[in-house]
Amino acid sequence: MKRNRLVATSVASTITLALALTACSTGGNDNGSGEGEAATGDIRVWLNGSDTPDAAREYLKTTFEEENPGSTLTIEEQSWTGLVDKLTTSLSGSDSPDVVEVGNTQSPAFTSAGFFREITEEEFQSLGGDDLLQGFVEAGDWDEKHYALPYYAGSRAVFYSPSAIGSDITVPATLDEYVELGKSLKTDSRSGVYWPGQDWYNALPFIWENGGFIAEQNDAGEWEGGFSSEGGLAGLAQVQDLMTNASLAPKDGQETDLQVPFCEGKVAFLSAPTWIQWSINAPEEPETPDGVPGCASTYGGDLTAFPLPGKEAGTTAQVFAGGSNIAVAQKSNNPELAFKAFEIMMSDEYQTILAENGLIPAKVSLASAVPQDNPIAQAGVAAAANTRLTPASPKWADVEAQNVLQSAFTKIANGDDVKTVAAELDAKIEEILNS
C-alpha cells in the first residue's frame, strides 16, 4: 500500500512535468523527397482567408501542374487571425511552406529577419519591375533588397441594400453626414452602421480625416503615437459615436462573417473589403459543401456600395491600403519549383483573374481589368485612389500581433473615456515601436 502510493505520486508528478514542459514541441516533416531528383515535388502555397477567388486558385494549380509534369501544388488556406505567429513557427521549421501570402503591414517582421528568399534585381524586372504597386514593393524590401512582392491590394467600400433601407437614400457627401445618417438609420433591431468592436481598420479613416495619425517619427528618430493628438481625439470621438449610437454589433466582436447579420436585414451600412460582395451575393444554398450561404435572392441581389466620403464634400476618405505581399520561403525544400509557382502568381494571366474579381492587381498596367460597369467595383477603385499605410517600422507587425488596436477599439465601443484609451494606446504603440 505504502509503496504503491509512493509510486503513484512519483508517476503522477513525472507525467505532470512531462505535460508541462513538452506542450510546445512541434514536429513532423512529411517532405522526404529524394534530393537527387529536385525536378519534381509537392509545392505548398499558403493563402489567407477567402480573399483569393476560386478561379485564381484553380488556374494556379492546373497551370503549375501542366508546366511541371510530375509535380503537384497544394493550396492550404490559413486564417488571418494569428497569422504572424503561425508563419514564424512554420517558416523557421523544417516543414516550411514554399510560397506564402503575408499582409503588407506584416511583411517587415519577416523580411528583416531573413525568412524569405531574396528576389534578385533581374528576377524583379522580369516579374514586373516598375509596373508593380510601389507602396507594396517597399513593404517587401529590406536593406535595399527585394524579398516579397505585391500580391494584390484591397480596398474598402460602404455596402448597402436599397431593398433593406429604402431606395430613396441619398449617398452621404461628407464624413459627418455619414455619421448622422448612420445614427438615424438605426432601429431597435437594425444597425445603422454595423461595427464590431475589434474592427480597427475601419476606424483609421476617421483618425486621418480629422487630421490625426497613428504614429510618426520625430527628429530624434523616436516614434510618437498620434491618437491623443487633437485630430486623433476628434476621430476617436466620431468612431465612438458610431459604435455606441449606430451599431448593434457585438462590442468585442471581430469583423468575420459579416454577411450573416447583413443577410438577416440587421444592417443598413456595412463598411468592408470589396470582396465581401461575393459572400453576400451568394446563393442561400451553397454550391460547394464548404461554401458559405449568402442571400442572393434578397438583400444580396441589389447590393451596392459607395466609397467612404471625406471630411470635405466631394472627396473620398483616406483609407487603409490593405493588401498582401507574396514571397518564397527561405527554407523551402524546393526553391526552384517554388519560384515557378511564384512566377505564375505574378503573371499577367493570374493577376487579371484577381482584377476581374474586384481586387486591385499587383501590376498598375492591369488596373483596367477591374470591371468598371458595376457600382461596387467603381466604389472600390475610387476608395483605393486615396490610401495610407500603417507606420513603416519592422516592429509594427508586433503591434498587430499583440492586438493592441483591437483591445483599444473594443474599449471605445464599450463606452470608455476616449482620452484615457487614446493615451494608453499611444503609450503602448510607442513602447513597442521604440523598443
Binding site: T16, A109, T410
Partner: protein, 318 residues
C-alpha cells in the same frame, strides 16, 4: 525519485539478512530504466536545456533563421521581474483564477463521485457516459461551443435571458468585462476537468472497506462525520495528487483562454501566464524574454509540486 526513496530501505534489509559484501553497481535496474530515461531526455531534457539557454540570450525572430544569438546574462530576468504591469499582474491573475478553478473542480468532482456511489447501475452508467463525453471533447472544440452558447447575438444564454426576463439581452457582450470573461472561462475549465476528478475519486472511494464505514455508523457517526473522518483520510493521497495535478493544469491553461480571447474580450485584461508567454514569444518574437518567464514559471510549479509531494511522503512515513 522512487529510486532515491526506496534505496535506503533495500540497503537496510540487505544488511540485516546477508553479511556485508562488496557493492556491485546495480546494472539491471539502470538497464531497465535506460529506455525511459532516453525518451525523457529527448522529450523533456533537451527542451528544458534549450529553454534555459535561450533565457540568457537576446533571441528574436532573426535568430530563428540561424543568426548567432548574443548572450545577455540576467538581463531578460531583470526585465521580467521588474515588469509589474505585465508579468506580476498576469501571474497574480493566473493564481486567483487557478484557486477558483481548482476549488470548484475538486468540490464538484467529489460531489459527483459521491453521487455515483449512491446511484443504481443504470443511472451510474448514464452519468459515466456523460462525464466521458465531456472529458473526450477536445479543449478547443469545447471552447468554441461554449463561445457560441455565450454569443452576443445568436447565443442560447442571451436568448433564454430575453425570454425569461422580458428585457432585451441580445447584443449583450459577456466577454468584454474581465470578471465575466473569467466566469465563462471557469465554467469551461471546470466542465472539462470535473470528469477526471470524479472518476478518480469514485475509484478511490469505492476501495474503502464497507465494514469500516458500517462500524463508524454503528458508533453513531453521521454522514458528514463519516465523510470527513473516514473517507477523506482513506483517499488523502489521491486527493493530494488530484489537487497538485489540477493546480498545474489550471495554472498553465492555454487553449481555452487563447480561443476565448479570439471570440471576444480584451486581451490585455484577460491574459493568463500561458497566453502571456505565447504572446511574448510566438506573437512578438521575443523568445529570450519568453524563455525567462517560462523558466521562472517552471520554478514556481516545481515549488508547488515539491511542497505537496513532500507533504505526502512525510505522512506516509509516520
Amino acid at each position: 525519485m522512487s529510486s532515491t526513496t526506496l534505496e535506503p530501505r533495500t540497503e537496510r534489509s540487505g544488511a540485516a539478512v546477508r553479511p556485508p559484501k562488496k557493492r556491485r553497481p546495480p546494472v539491471l535496474p539502470w538497464t531497465l530504466l535506460l529506455p525511459s530515461l532516453v525518451v525523457l531526455g529527448v522529450l523533456v531534457g533537451y527542451p528544458i536545456v534549450r529553454l534555459v539557454v535561450m533565457s540568457f540570450q537576446k533571441y528574436e525572430r532573426a535568430q530563428l533563421m540561424g543568426q548567432p544569438a548574443e548572450w545577455v546574462g540576467f538581463d531578460n530576468y531583470a526585465q521580467v521581474l521588474t515588469d509589474v504591469d505585465g508579468f506580476w499582474t498576469v501571474l497574480l491573475r493566473s493564481f486567483l483564477f487557478m484557486v477558483v478553478c481548482v476549488a470548484l473542480t475538486m468540490l464538484i468532482g467529489t460531489l459527483v463521485a459521491l453521487l455515483m456511489m449512491r446511484l443504481g447501475k443504470g443511472f451510474r452508467l448514464l452519468v459515466s457516459i456523460g462525464l466521458l463525453l465531456a472529458w473526450a471533447m477536445p479543449a478547443l472544440a469545447g471552447t468554441v461551443v461554449w463561445g457560441w452558447i455565450f454569443d452576443s447575438d445568436y447565443g442560447v444564454v442571451n436568448n433564454l435571458l430575453t425570454k425569461i426576463t422580458g428585457e432585451n439581452w441580445l447584443g449583450h457582450a459577456w466577454l468584454i468585462n474581465p470578471l465575466l470573461f473569467f466566469t465563462v472561462a471557469t465554467i469551461i475549465i471546470v466542465w472539462g476537468a470535473v470528469p477526471f476528478v470524479a472518476f478518480t475519486m469514485y475509484a478511490g472511494l469505492t476501495q474503502i472497506p464497507g465494514e469500516v464505514l458500517e462500524a463508524a455508523q454503528l458508533d453513531g457517526a453521521g454522514p458528514v462525520k463519516r465523510f470527513r473522518l473516514i473517507m477523506v483520510p482513506y483517499v488523502r493521497s489521491i486527493i493530494t495528487v488530484l489537487v497538485v495535478l489540477s493546480i498545474i493544469w489550471d495554472l498553465r491553461v492555454f487553449t481555452q483562454i487563447y480561443a476565448l480571447q479570439d471570440i471576444g474580450g480584451i486581451r490585455e485584461q484577460t491574459n493568463t501566464i500561458g497566453v502571456y508567454i505565447y504572446q511574448m514569444g510566438m506573437a512578438q518574437g521575443h523568445y529570450g524574454l519568453a524563455g525567462a518567464i517560462s523558466v521562472i514559471f517552471v520554478f514556481i510549479m516545481l515549488a508547488i509540486s515539491f511542497y505537496y509531494v513532500r507533504q505526502t511522503v512525510r505522512e506516509e512515513e509516520l
